[in-house]
């Protein structure tokens, strides 16, 4: 069956199997920035935004996302033009192996879109599904707070 997605602003049509999850469709079509790991929704490495809301793409059926908008980490910023969140994660040492980083940044990105001045508790809650086994979480929370400062400076 065919599905229509808008991925990082570009319209795409993909052929999928009816029982496939979104993660597999994205990676097969070159979106390798979306990481796969647990396939149970427990680690958050595969996080993407669907119509702006963070989801684990390993537990979302690809067919359910038909005609929706998907944002991967490459839709947030690039090497040449990183988003303040990406700069802040580097600056504050919130990245080590990097496997969880796209998911964590996407969760934080969705939070800041909705709530530009979150409390520490709100940041922790927004990132509670993105498991990091290297850096830990203190630096991530610091990075999100630092990005708020960078975003304000950009304005």
């Amino acid at each position: 069956m065919k599905v229509h997605y808008t991925i990082n602003g570009e319209k795409k049509i993909f052929e999928i199997k009816p029982g496939e999850v979104l993660l597999d469709v994205l990676r097969r079509n070159g979106y390798s920035e979306v990481k796969g790991n647990c396939y149970m929704g427990t680690c958050g490495a595969c996080t993407v935004l669907i119509d702006g809301v963070p989801h684990t793409s390993c537990t979302i059926l690809a067919a359910k996302v038909d005609n929706k908008s998907i944002t991967t980490i490459k839709g947030v910023g690039t090497l040449q033009h990183p988003h303040p969140l990406q700069k802040a994660f580097v600056e504050k040492g919130a990245v080590q192996c990097g496997f969880c980083t796209p998911g964590a940044i996407l969760s934080a990105y969705a939070l800041l879109k909705e709530n530009p001045n979150p409390t520490d508790e709100e940041i922790k809650k927004a990132l509670d599904g993105n498991v990091c086994r290297c850096t830990g979480y203190v630096q991530q929370v610091e990075a999100v707070k630092f990005s708020i400062k960078l975003l304000k400076e950009e304005k």
Binding site: T42, H55, T56, I60, L61, K64, D128, G129
Partner: protein, 283 residues
């Protein structure tokens, strides 16, 4: 990793009638997809058809006839953020919803899906039990409304071969009601090893009414009616909370599994029941 290897077709019906017709004609080989978490994490190999509810306009939370009516495809996040839930039972329901699983999964798990799948470790089922929620089922033409106790008392899986859960109705409670729930989890985002929910009506420090449910016991959640009877008519005090712990440990229907022994689960049930009651004293 293709987990649902045998799925051949996906359907996005435009009406409940169409959805029920597909379900009925599939003779057990179709699955209703709310958020889709259950079907992807616990794939059932006999499923050949997926029926998505996305076009059925079941994503609403509204107030009607002194009830909060929650459409089946409302996610935990939608419900947690709803203005109708914000101050419901002094904001305790909102707090509990925000503790379930992780933000990513709360964005996917639907209230209707949680009820329809009937998982023993669900946090939503004991919550709805304690709130004496009512489940609305549709056969495509007519609605049937069942108290959650009756929904699970009847063979709900048999019911859902021909019907779809469309709505959950929660009664609005006045200020004399107090609600609390505790989940025993190894870490914040884990599935619970026990959950206890308690709703009481207190007038002049006397418990006039009580509704208690336990889930992850390890069977599907149930109403602890003996515990409700124990509390009714008694003055809410620290001593009562101590007695209630003992009574719960002796009378609660919980079992053991690989994750938690029966003895420990009984003890936890008692301690959690006591602690919730103590917390409710301070409301």
């Amino acid at each position: 990793m293709l987990k649902l290897k045998n799925v051949r077709q996906c359907f996005m019906p435009d009406s409940l009638q169409e959805a029920v017709d597909i379900l009925r004609d599939s003779q057990g080989k179709a699955a209703i997809v709310g958020g889709g978490l259950d079907i992807t994490v616990f794939p059932r190999p006999y499923i050949e058809k997926l029926i998505f509810l996305d076009k059925l306009h079941l994503n609403y939370i509204k107030e009607k006839n002194s009830e909060i009516r929650v459409g089946a495809t409302v996610t935990i996040t939608d419900m947690e953020r709803s203005l109708l839930i914000k101050n419901y039972l002094r904001g305790r329901v909102k707090e509990i919803l925000g503790e379930v699983a992780s933000q990513l999964l709360r964005n996917q798990i639907t209230i209707g899906g949680s009820i329809a799948r009937g998982h023993p470790y669900s946090d939503i089922i004991p919550l709805v039990y304690a709130l004496r929620g009512r489940i609305v089922l549709s056969d495509g033409k007519d609605d049937e409304e069942l108290l959650i106790d009756d929904f699970y008392r009847e063979n709900f899986r048999e019911l859902l071969k021909n019907k779809i859960v469309t709505e959950i109705r929660l009664k609005k409670y006045d200020d004399s009601y107090r609600f609390g729930m505790k989940r025993f989890v190894r870490n914040a985002t884990d599935i619970p090893l026990l959950n206890v929910a308690l709703l009481i009506k207190v007038e002049k420090n006397i418990i006039k009414d009580a509704s208690i449910s336990l889930g992850s016991r390890p069977g599907i959640a149930y109403r602890f009616i003996k515990g409700e009877e124990f509390l009714k008519g008694k003055k809410i005090t620290k001593e009562l909370a101590e007695d209630f712990q003992e009574f719960t440990e002796e009378n609660v229907d919980v079992g053991g599994d690989a994750r938690l022994s029966k003895t420990y689960r009984k003890h936890l049930a008692g301690v959690y029941s006591k602690n919730i009651l103590l917390n409710l004293m301070e409301v």
